[in-house]
């Protein structure tokens, strides 16, 4: 069920500092992969994604007028699903065509004892928002998460 193994070879994520909160940045060979990596970066702000069992899949289907808004919508959809379902996610699959995103998040019910989440994500913001192709085949998706 963990479909991210193949993507890890080309994609990666990192955090960047913000005074009170945390910046998330995903790199990938495609917009979808950059979104997967940005989602992993957001999860890593909350919990070590490797500790999340991939027991359940949640499908997310979104459309936005602009690509960068789609990134914010994607991260906010994950925040909503985590809060509503009381879940944490550890892996993602994303495909983007013409500002339409089809995504799948894999995870399990949150366990306060086992996961000990550090923070709760309140929302993805438009601060430091960028979703761009820096070089051919090198996409960068980033924004600050309010925690």
């Amino acid at each position: 069920m963990a479909a991210t193994g193949a993507h890890v070879a080309t994609g990666r994520w990192e955090h960047f500092p913000h005074d009170a909160d945390i910046g998330v940045r995903g790199y990938g060979a495609s917009p979808g992969e950059a979104c997967e990596q940005a989602a992993l970066a957001m999860m890593a702000a909350i919990v070590d994604p490797a500790t999340v069992r991939l027991e359940q899949a949640v499908d997310i289907d979104l459309e936005a007028p602009r690509l960068d808004l789609l990134l914010v919508d994607w991260l906010n959809a994950l925040i909503y699903e985590m809060a509503e379902r009381r879940m944490l996610f550890g892996a993602f699959e994303v495909k983007i065509d013409d500002n339409r995103l089809k995504g799948r998040a894999f995870g399990e019910a949150v366990s306060r004892a086992r996961h000990a989440p550090a923070v709760e994500a309140k929302g993805a913001t438009y601060t430091e928002l960028a979703f761009v192709e820096d070089r051919p085949g090198q996409w960068r998706a980033q924004c600050v998460i309010d925690v």
Binding site: D19, I22, K122
Partner: protein
């Protein structure tokens, strides 16, 4: 920050003259040391706010200002609806009506210390805190609407609080003009199991000793006695407020162009107050304020239940409850004329001075209590609003210490276990479901709260009344 870009008005007031589309000047209140420490982003953000339509007098930043979203954290700005003024979802933020309340216990430090570990365990067990925690109050559709309309008044009617608490909550515990119909299904769903939960991050419940009194008369009026203990609760509107912030920010980003608003930063997303979207947001945001007021009232009730197990008198009267992420309709004097303004405070506290009509009679001679949360090691302050604050910043003051280090840097600098052990050696018990969360909130990650409140006092925003030192801290 580079101070050469400011005109120094006094030791604690710094002005930026309008440039590049600013409609009004920007003013930052802080000492020179705090100004030099401040992030350059505060300059960008406080000047961007000054570009928004209908802004009145100036865009302000408080002494604890730091890089926020659109507005700086510690930003204050007022808008006039009759002059095309806007309401900004970014200017209120995701955690609508996040705020602080302090309950008096009238128990001595010795009484608390005699049961400190057991009391800490009981509070941690009884007050839901952290990611994934759930409250015991389940709301159906009717109950949700009643809560969104009634705020703390709703909580008290349901038995989660005391009627006399309302005298000590802004707007008597209920924001008028709430419109539950403007609150989405997603926001409602996100809240249905979160009533009476603390949340995580920098939210906390602390038992604190009144360690120092700066103003005996005002402290006595507030019920603060040196050597006695209080309970301070910091949290907000939980998932409902976060979802409202998310949804309306997006709507405002997309529709700004339609309203002819040029956004200097998308996070400043806003809509004219006199527009359908602006009115809908105000209705939803006021519903979220009521959710936060109800939430803090319920947590206060849960705290009273725990104290009643340990002590004969568990009344815990409420000293005051203040919000610091809001937009409120207030009357302010501008050039000798009283005008109705929409005052945004993002990470800033309302701070009415003495004799203000908005204060309960018992507090009117002294000014509004302003509660400043510090880090879990450094302690907190109670201030009192000053009359000069009206002229300085629409009766506003700071809200906390402000971070000096990112979360990532904090986790590299300290381990959570060591932070807990070091604080225990200082007599402070930390209870948290996450050691990493503790490391991110370590005392060293925050600025010196004393420097911030001294700045606020010197700037005429609010004066010091008491210093509170933590004994127990429950973190989410």
């Amino acid at each position: 920050m580079d101070l050469s870009r400011f005109e120094r008005l006094s030791d604690t007031a710094w002005r930026i003259a309008p440039f590049g589309g600013m409609r009004v000047p920007a003013i930052v209140y802080a000492t020179e040391d705090l100004m030099r420490e401040m992030d350059d982003k505060v300059f960008d953000q406080v000047t961007n706010v000054a570009k928004l339509p209908g802004i009145v007098r100036a865009s302000y930043a408080m002494p604890d200002a730091h890089w926020g979203y659109g507005f700086p954290i510690g930003g204050v700005a007022a808008f006039d609806a009759d002059e095309g003024g806007v309401v900004s979802a970014g200017g209120v933020g995701f955690d609508v009506s996040c705020g602080v309340r302090t309950h008096l216990t009238h128990l001595t430090r010795e009484q608390i210390v005699s049961v400190q570990p057991e009391l800490a365990d009981a509070l941690f067990e009884h007050v839901p805190a952290g990611v994934g925690s759930e409250g015991e109050i389940a709301l159906d559709e009717q109950g949700m609407n009643a809560m969104l309309l009634g705020g703390a008044q709703w909580a008290i009617e349901r038995g989660f609080g005391r009627a006399e608490d309302l005298d000590r909550i802004e707007e008597r515990g209920c924001a008028s003009g709430a419109d539950p119909a403007a609150v989405s299904e997603h926001a409602r769903k996100r809240q249905r199991r979160e009533m009476g939960t603390l949340g995580s991050g920098n939210h906390y419940l602390e038992v604190q000793e009144v360690a120092e009194i700066f103003d005996e008369k005002t402290a006595a009026a507030y019920g603060l006695v040196k050597g006695e203990c209080v309970v301070t609760i910091h949290c907000g509107s939980r998932g409902l407020g976060h979802q409202i912030g998310t949804e309306y920010l997006r709507d405002m980003v997309i529709s700004a162009q339609d309203y002819g608003i040029e956004l200097p930063d998308r996070e400043l997303a806003c809509a004219p107050i006199k527009s359908e979207l602006g009115q809908r947001y105000l209705g939803a945001m006021r519903s979220a304020i009521n959710c936060a007021l109800a939430n803090r009232e319920i947590i206060g009730h849960l705290t009273r239940q725990v104290f009643a197990r340990f002590f004969e008198h568990g009344e815990l009267p409420l000293m005051f409850d203040v919000s610091h992420n809001t937009c409120k309709v207030e009357r302010h004097a501008i050039d000798g004329q009283t005008r109705q303004l929409f005052v945004h405070r993002k990470g800033a506290t309302r701070a009415f001075g003495p004799d203000h009509e908005g204060l309960p009679k018992a507090l009117r001679p002294f000014g509004q209590p302003v509660i400043i949360g510090g880090s879990m090691g450094a302690g907190s302050y109670v201030l009192a609003g000053m009359q000069t604050s009206e002229r300085q910043a629409f009766s506003s003051a700071c809200h906390g210490a402000g971070r000096r280090m990112s979360r990532h840097a904090a986790t590299r600098a300290w381990g959570g276990r060591k932070v807990v052990d070091d604080l225990r050696a200082q007599g402070i018990i930390i209870k948290s479901p996450s050691l990493r969360g503790v490391a991110e909130e370590a005392p060293g990650a925050y600025k010196d709260v004393r420097a911030v409140v001294d700045s606020a006092e010197a700037a005429g925003l609010a004066r010091k009344v008491a210093f509170l030192k933590p004994l127990i801290c429950v973190k989410g």
